[in-house]
Each structure stands twice: as structure tokens, then as C-alpha cells.
């Protein structure tokens, strides 16, 4: 325990003891009341607060074990009071044991007992397990009330929960306006509480700020009760208290219904009184979005009026997506500022004279960072729509095409609730339709054929979507005849896309990727051969434009699977910042496998292509300064870096001079005037107006493999 003065120690122990004794009493009461009707929320709350205070105390005085114990107990109690777990016998037992352990810890700290306290860790684990067993309750709908948003704004999370719970249980809400003399307020309050308790629950007390006299105070008390207004008036009314019922909002036909949400449950973010810009079809998200507190009540007189309306709770707003783009742009600009502030903060912190300012700056920067991240996610969530919309459309296409092609095809969809940026969904429509059409027209065999090889007469096309880290993966799979590699290769050779000698070196995956080459897409040639018809190169380009990649896997006679991997968001990506001849460039981290130092001794040349061996596999290299025709006055670096980028199965080492660092960047597209320039996915602003070009890894890889005359297609494996 921390070194404190004697007086402080005394205070610590005496307060701790007092709290623990109170805890004990309350727990006993809780135990006694179990099974005899609803659990008294006030009791649970008191116990929670007691543990919370103990935690604070322990923290202040450095009593680590007590702190840890309080932390776990607090979680369990918070879950209990917020209704996330039930008050079972197990829970009660654990709480009682907790109290015993408190006693032991205090004794040890005081020095009056020697106790190794070795069983604490096990106990903490049991507490943690109890906390994790929370159930997600389904949201309950109910009528809602006319409540001042200003009132809602000052409810703590716990009070909000109590309000919601009472509404769900069908209680009515009442507002009591009382005036107390400050001198006697404790007694008067206590008496009011005692009178009110049997009839309902007091949610909160709000000082109105009215009442000019300094020696009295006026309060609005929000109370939930099943009793009627008259009954309450007779019990609690009088000169000191005016009681009004908070009117229920009349249910017009179009009024959206209040869906109270619980933190952690699958419901739209808590929007009591706060309009939410959630599109109606979006599935609920478990993470709560940062809230905008309601506006303060105007002037001083709002409370005098009984009716102020609670705006409907799950309001939805139609948003022009361009406005969202604007907001995202602003977020992007703020990100740049945040990065700049971060760098500045680092410099300031290094200076000893500015230490205090540095600390402050650091704290502010961290806060800014958090808020910005929340803002960004918030806006992105607004843009997200479930893929299900697109999948439904595709299902209709499947029915139509299969009728035309006279084949029986079954479309199986999973992951329709996976959400993607709205713009991505729109761009995906064509490529996915393309793939499905090809699958039905060319891949899936005719009924007779299928039966002959022992497949079910009805062909299956599967559409799967799921989220993987910061990407969305969409798979299009069919159980058709698969891709005939031999024919694909000979078609490529015939069209001059592949040298005969390179053929033997091609690995399975390389062959399959030939499907994406323009020039192999003539239907007459390849439609029958490859199981794929027109336009796979277009599909690949379109997906590339979205910042995604497409991969293919196929087995002859069994089927083919295309895997499309897309970033969830278009706008902000993580990138590796590098320097080439003193100029700064960004490489999207999604394409980067690793960055390595180049050992000049490990390099060699094969047919004009520079290579190195990386963990047993050959890695072709591309000297970026040469590719870009950049030179500088500085002598060439002896040991430059290679940024290994990969797309699908192919890898390429981009040789750069310096690795600057990793950073989130806002990637902006280059204008049409630069469309013809190869190798760039866009540009980003790095701060103080400097622009860095963002490399297009897939394009560079393609250029290295298929473009340049010296590029050896077969030289890369793995």
C-alpha cells in the first residue's frame, strides 16, 4: 500500500470498514428478498455504489488487491443493476465471498493478519466468468412519453437504464415539483423518499434553478409508478409538491415506436430523444455510437409548461450520400490535422522545459484521436448498407438466366446482413452479375451432363459474404465443371500472351489467373474452354477500382470459386510511407506483405529481371527509382529497402530508399487528366499541403509481370 500519513491511513481504514459493513447488511437484505418478488433496484444500486467507492478508495491508496477485487465485483454488480445478468444463487454466493475477502485484505494491509491471499486470483476468475455470461435481451417496444430532452441529457447511464426498465414494465411517469428549505432538506427529502418508495421508483432529482431565494431549492423529481395520479397526489401532494403525470405521446399511425436499447444488446444505438441517422434497413449494431446530448432547455421557463415533447426515438433521416462524402472529406482533413498535431506533440514532449505543456498536449491529442475515430466510424456506419439488397437482385437475375439457359440452378446466400459502403454496393452490382451469368451460362452443365457425372441435377451457386478484419469478403462459388487449365493455357499461347517456354513454369494458380487477362475473353475461344465467358478482365478492373482484389480457385469437374476481397471503406486506409529519391510516396498497407532490407549480396539477375530469394521463394524486384525515372543528387543507397507487395498469388519487391513510417491516409483519386499514368491509385495530403502519390500495387505487379518486355512471368512463385 502506498505510503501515506497516519491520518490518511486512519481515514482509509475507517471508511473502508464502514462501507464493507454496509455492504454486508445490504447483501443480507438482498439475499432475504430473493424469490419474494422483484429485486429492489435501489438495493442493488447501493451495493454497486459501495463497491465502486471501495474501488476508488483502493486506487487512491494503492491497495492493489483490493482494487482488483473491487473492479471485478463492480463489473458483476453493474451487470446486475443494468439487468444484463440475473441475481442467481451463484451470483449471491460470489458476492458474499467477495465481502469476506475484503475483510481479509484489510486485515493484511493493517498488519493484523498474515494471510497469503493466494486464492484471490481464482476467485477473480470466477467473478469474471459470471460477468461474461450476460444475456442479450431482446429490445421491448412500448409507448413513449413527452419528456424534456434537457431532462434526458442529465441522466446518467444508470438512471437511463432505470427509466427504460420502468417504461418497459408499463409504469407511468410522473413529475413532482417540490420546494425544500435548504436548512431542512435532508429530513424533508428523506421523508419524501420513504413515502414514495412503496409506490414506485424515483429516477432522478433535478434542481430547476428556479426560486430566487437562496435558502430554498426547487426540484423536479422524475418518478415511475403504477399508481394513478390521484393516488400519488393524495399521498405525496400538498403545498410542497405539485405532481403532474408525464403525458404519453399519442400514437399516430406513422409514429415510430420506442425501441429502448441496452448497451451490449443488438439494438439500434440508444437514441432516446436523439435522432439517429440510421437507414431503416440497416441491421442493429452492438457498438454504441457516441451520443449528442440533448439541447439545454431554453430560457428558464420550460419546466413550468407541462408539455414538451420527446421527439420520436427511432427517427430515421434520408441522407444524400454526397453530404456524407462531404462529411467524410472533413473527417479526412481532420485526420491530417490530427497527424500533424501528433508529430508536434512528440517534439514538444521531448523538450524538458515544455514538459507540462507536452503532457497536456499529449492528453488533448489522445482525446482528439479518440473522438475523431468515433466520428469516422459514426459516419461510416451511416453509409453502410447490407449486401442483402444486392443479393436479392442477384437472386432474381439467377432465376431469369437459368430459365433462359434452360438449366436448374439453386442460389444459396449467406451473410446477406454483411454491411458494405453504399458506393461499393453499387459498383459491385455489375461484376457480381457478370460472374453469376457466366457461371450459369458456361460453368454449370446441362441437366443431362450433370447426371451423367453423378452431380445433382440442380446446379448450385453460392454467394457468401462475411467480414474479415477491415475487409469484406464475397465469394461466388459454383459446382459446375471447373476450369480446364490445359485449354486455357493453349488459348493463351495461341494468342501470344504466353511464351511456350513459360508454360511449364506456371503454377496452378498462375494458370487460373489467366482468366483475368483481356484478350482471353473472346467468347468463341474461351467461353467453352474455361467455363468463363466474356469480361472477367472487366470484372477485375472494376473490383480493382474499388480497392479490392479478386482471386480464383477451381477444380476440374468440381467447381469454381471466386473470392472478392474489398476494403470496408473507400476513403481512409492504412499506408506505409516511403521515400524514393527524396520524394515521398504511400503504399496501401493492404497490399504490403512485409518490408525488408536488401542485401546486395543476395541479389541476382535472371533474363534481365532482378531477383532475390525470400524464405526459399523467388521474389522479383522492381527498382522504383528506375521505373519512375527519378534521380537525385544523392548517391544511390547501398542497402535500400524492398517493400514486398502481393496481389493474389503474385509478389513483387518494390525497392525504395527509405521507410518513413505507417500512417492512416485519406486517399483521393487523381483527376481524369492523369488517368493514363500507370502505377498510382491516387494521392494523399501529408500535412502542410504536401501531396504524396499513392502507389497502385496491383497495377505495378501487373506491369512487372505482363507489361515490360523483360518481365519474366514465370519467375515468381508462392
Amino acid at each position: 500500500m502506498a505510503d501515506m500519513g497516519d491520518k490518511a491511513r486512519e481515514e482509509f481504514f475507517s471508511e473502508a470498514h464502514e462501507i464493507i459493513e454496509g455492504l454486508s447488511r445490504d447483501l443480507l437484505q438482498l439475499d432475504g428478498s430473493r424469490g419474494k418478488g422483484p429485486v429492489d433496484p435501489e438495493l442493488v444500486n447501493n451495493i454497486f455504489r459501495a463497491v465502486h467507492t471501495l474501488k476508488g478508495l483502493a486506487g487512491l491508496f494503492g491497495a492493489a488487491r483490493m482494487s482488483a477485487l473491487s473492479h471485478e465485483l463492480e463489473n458483476v454488480l453493474d451487470d446486475l443493476r443494468l439487468g444484463k445478468i440475473e441475481l442467481t444463487q451463484l451470483a449471491l454466493d460470489l458476492l458474499f465471498r467477495g465481502i469476506t475477502i475484503y475483510g481479509r485484505i484489510l486485515a493484511v494491509e493493517k498488519g493484523t493478519r498474515a494471510d497469503p491471499l493466494s486464492d484471490i486470483d481464482e476467485f477473480l476468475r470466477e467473478l469474471a466468468e459470471l460477468s461474461e455470461s450476460q444475456s442479450d435481451e431482446a429490445p421491448v417496444s412500448g409507448a413513449f412519453y413527452e419528456l424534456d430532452p434537457g431532462l434526458l441529457a442529465v441522466l446518467t447511464e444508470y438512471e437511463e437504464h432505470r427509466l427504460r426498465t420502468n417504461i418497459e414494465q408499463g409504469q407511468s411517469l410522473f413529475r413532482l415539483r417540490v420546494r425544500f428549505e435548504l436548512a431542512t432538506i435532508d429530513a424533508a427529502l428523506s421523508s419524501l423518499k420513504t413515502k414514495a418508495k412503496p409506490h414506485g421508483e424515483i429516477i432522478t432529482y433535478l434542481p430547476t434553478g428556479e426560486g430566487a431565494e437562496a435558502d430554498s431549492i426547487e426540484l423536479d423529481i422524475l418518478m415511475a409508478s403504477k399508481a394513478s395520479l390521484d393516488v400519488l397526489r393524495s399521498l405525496l401532494g400538498g403545498e410542497q409538491a405539485q405532481i403532474e403525470e408525464v403525458p404519453r405521446r399519442s400514437r399516430a399511425a406513422k409514429d415510430p415506436v420506442l425501441v429502448p436499447s441496452r448497451p451490449g444488446s443488438h439494438a439500434p444505438p440508444d437514441a432516446m430523444g436523439f435522432p439517429s441517422a440510421h437507414p431503416p434497413s440497416a441491421p442493429p449494431r452492438p457498438k454504441a455510437v457516441a451520443q449528442r446530448p440533448g439541447a439545454l432547455p431554453k430560457g428558464g421557463s420550460t419546466h413550468a409548461v407541462a408539455e414538451v415533447s420527446l421527439r420520436s426515438v427511432t427517427q430515421t433521416v434520408r441522407v444524400d450520400i454526397r453530404k456524407l462524402d462531404l462529411l467524410m472529406n472533413i473527417v479526412g482533413e481532420l485526420s491530417i490535422v490530427r497527424n500533424a498535431i501528433g508529430r508536434l506533440t512528440e517534439s514538444v514532449r521531448k523538450s524538458p522545459e515544455l514538459r507540462e505543456i507536452g503532457m497536456e498536449l499529449y492528453r488533448l491529442h489522445r482525446g482528439f484521436e479518440r473522438q475523431l475515430a468515433d466520428l469516422q466510424s459514426g459516419i461510416l456506419e451511416v453509409r453502410m448498407v447490407p449486401l442483402g439488397q444486392l443479393f436479392d437482385k442477384l437472386a432474381r437475375v439467377v432465376r431469369q438466366i437459368s430459365r433462359e439457359a434452360d438449366k436448374d440452378v439453386n442460389l444459396v446466400i449467406t451473410g446477406a446482413e454483411t454491411e458494405v459502403d453504399k458506393l461499393i454496393v453499387e459498383e459491385l452490382s455489375d461484376p457480381l452479375m457478370h460472374m453469376i451469368r457466366n457461371a450459369i451460362d458456361h460453368a454449370i452443365e446441362a441437366r443431362i451432363e450433370r447426371e451423367r457425372v453423378g452431380k445433382p441435377a440442380v446446379g448450385t451457386i453460392a454467394l457468401n459474404a462475411f467480414q474479415k478484419a477491415s475487409h469484406v469478403v464475397i465469394e461466388v462459388e459454383d459446382d459446375g465443371k471447373g476450369i480446364d487449365e490445359t485449354k486455357l493455357v493453349s488459348a493463351a499461347v495461341k494468342r501470344g500472351l504466353l511464351g511456350q517456354d513459360e508454360v511449364t513454369e506456371l503454377v496452378h494458380r498462375e494458370v487460373l489467373n489467366l482468366v483475368f487477362i483481356p484478350g482471353l475473353s473472346t467468347k468463341s475461344d474461351v467461353g467453352e474452354l474455361s467455363g468463363r465467358g466474356v469480361g472477367m478482365d472487366v470484372v477485375k478492373t472494376n473490383i480493382g477500382k474499388l480497392g479490392g482484389i479478386i482471386d480464383i480457385y477451381s477444380e476440374r469437374g468440381i467447381g469454381t470459386k471466386f473470392t472478392v476481397t474489398l476494403p470496408i471503406t473507400l476513403a481512409i486506409i492504412s499506408a506505409l510511407i516511403v521515400q524514393i529519391e527524396g520524394r515521398t510516396f504511400a503504399v496501401p498497407l493492404a497490399s504490403v506483405q512485409e518490408a525488408i532490407w536488401l542485401d546486395p549480396a543476395a541479389l541476382r539477375r535472371v533474363e534481365g529481371q532482378e531477383l532475390m530469394t525470400l524464405r526459399g521463394a523467388t521474389l522479383p524486384l522492381c527498382r522504383m527509382n528506375e521505373l519512375f525515372g527519378l534521380t537525385s543528387a544523392v548517391k544511390a543507397k547501398l542497402r535500400p529497402y524492398a517493400v514486398v507487395v502481393s496481389v493474389g498469388a503474385r509478389r513483387l519487391g518494390l525497392v525504395v530508399d527509405e521507410l518513413i513510417g505507417q500512417q492512416d491516409i485519406v486517399i483521393k483519386p487523381l483527376g481524369p487528366s492523369l488517368k493514363k499514368v500507370k502505377g498510382f491509385a491516387g494521392a494523399t495530403e501529408l500535412g502542410d499541403q504536401r501531396v504524396a502519390l499513392v502507389l497502385d500495387a496491383p497495377a505495378l505487379i501487373e506491369e512487372a509481370f505482363l507489361g515490360g518486355s523483360d518481365a519474366a512471368v514465370g519467375a515468381s512463385y508462392g
Binding site: G629, G671, V691
Partner: protein
């Protein structure tokens, strides 16, 4: 910009009488020659911000810059008009104009001079002055107060992706 307009007005007040409706032209220097474009075609004039070169881009492309977050491609007007190369000057400026497909383009010029308000009488339309076929981007010649301005129409200059053809002079 304000002082440029003021200068233009001052010139007029020096007592030279002109007639007819006026169009304002922004005059700038490319090399040793003075050109001008209708002021309405210039959205903004920028001092040189840091310009990022774009490797492997056509020679006329100077690079890209960021204008309050907007990415703008900067083209050398001199290069696009296939004029002789000159040294870069510290007075270089970027004129923002609207290109094809709603793209904002930056045109690099060696120096921005002033705004002239030209009356019809001060403009000699191209065909009559220079005779013969010319690139369709030259509107004519302006001669305010003895100055000689080659008046350009930016639209064909920007709407094309290739530099415009021009008779050798």
C-alpha cells in the same frame, strides 16, 4: 486580385476613350510573351504551393497540388501550347480553371500581370489579324494602351488531352 482590378481601372481612367461593352481579361506572361484569358474562365489564382511531380506523366504535366484538400493536376500552359521552354520564375502562378469532365485543372504561368477591361474596339479577332489557319484557341489580339495581348480561349486548350496544334511562328 483586388489590386489587379484596381490597376485595370486606373489604366482606363488615364483618359483613353473606348467604346462598347467590355470583357475583362486576365493577362499573364509565358516566357517573353503576354497572353490573356477571359477572367470568367479563371476560378482562382494561386501562388505556388508545394508541387508533387507525377512520374511517367506527360511532360506538360507539372505535378499535383492540394488546394484546400482538393487534388488538382497542374499543367504547364507553355508546354501545352508548345511554346519554347523558359526558366521557371519565382513569380510563377497557378490559374485554376475548369477542364474536361468537371475536373479542376491548374495552369502554370510564369507571371500574372493584370486585368484589362477590353472593349470590342480594342480586340482584333484572330482570323483578320493573323491570317491563315490557326489553333482554335486563339481568340484574337488585344491592344489596350499599346500593350499586346494574345487572347486565348481556354476551353479548347483544356478540353483536349493532347497539346493543341499550332502553326510555327
Amino acid at each position: 486580385m483586388a489590386d489587379l482590378l484596381a490597376r485595370g481601372r486606373n489604366d482606363r481612367h488615364r483618359g483613353i476613350k473606348v467604346r462598347g461593352p467590355r470583357v475583362e481579361y486576365l493577362a499573364f506572361r509565358l516566357g517573353a510573351d503576354t497572353y490573356a484569358v477571359p477572367i470568367g474562365e479563371v476560378r482562382e489564382i494561386l501562388k505556388l504551393p508545394p508541387v508533387t511531380e507525377v512520374p511517367r506523366a506527360p511532360e506538360e504535366i507539372v505535378g499535383v497540388v492540394s488546394v484546400r484538400g482538393l487534388l488538382v493536376t497542374v499543367i504547364s500552359l507553355r508546354a501545352r501550347l508548345r511554346l519554347q521552354a523558359t526558366e521557371s520564375s519565382r513569380k510563377g502562378r497557378i490559374l485554376l480553371a475548369m477542364g474536361a469532365q468537371d475536373e479542376v485543372i491548374g495552369l502554370y504561368v510564369d507571371e500574372v500581370l493584370q486585368v484589362y477591361r477590353l472593349a470590342e474596339s480594342e480586340i482584333e479577332v484572330a482570323a483578320s489579324v493573323l491570317g491563315g489557319r490557326l489553333g482554335d484557341y486563339i481568340v484574337g489580339i488585344g491592344r489596350p494602351d499599346g500593350a499586346l495581348l494574345t487572347l486565348l480561349d481556354l476551353r479548347p486548350i483544356l478540353g483536349r488531352s493532347e497539346p493543341v496544334a499550332r502553326d510555327a511562328t
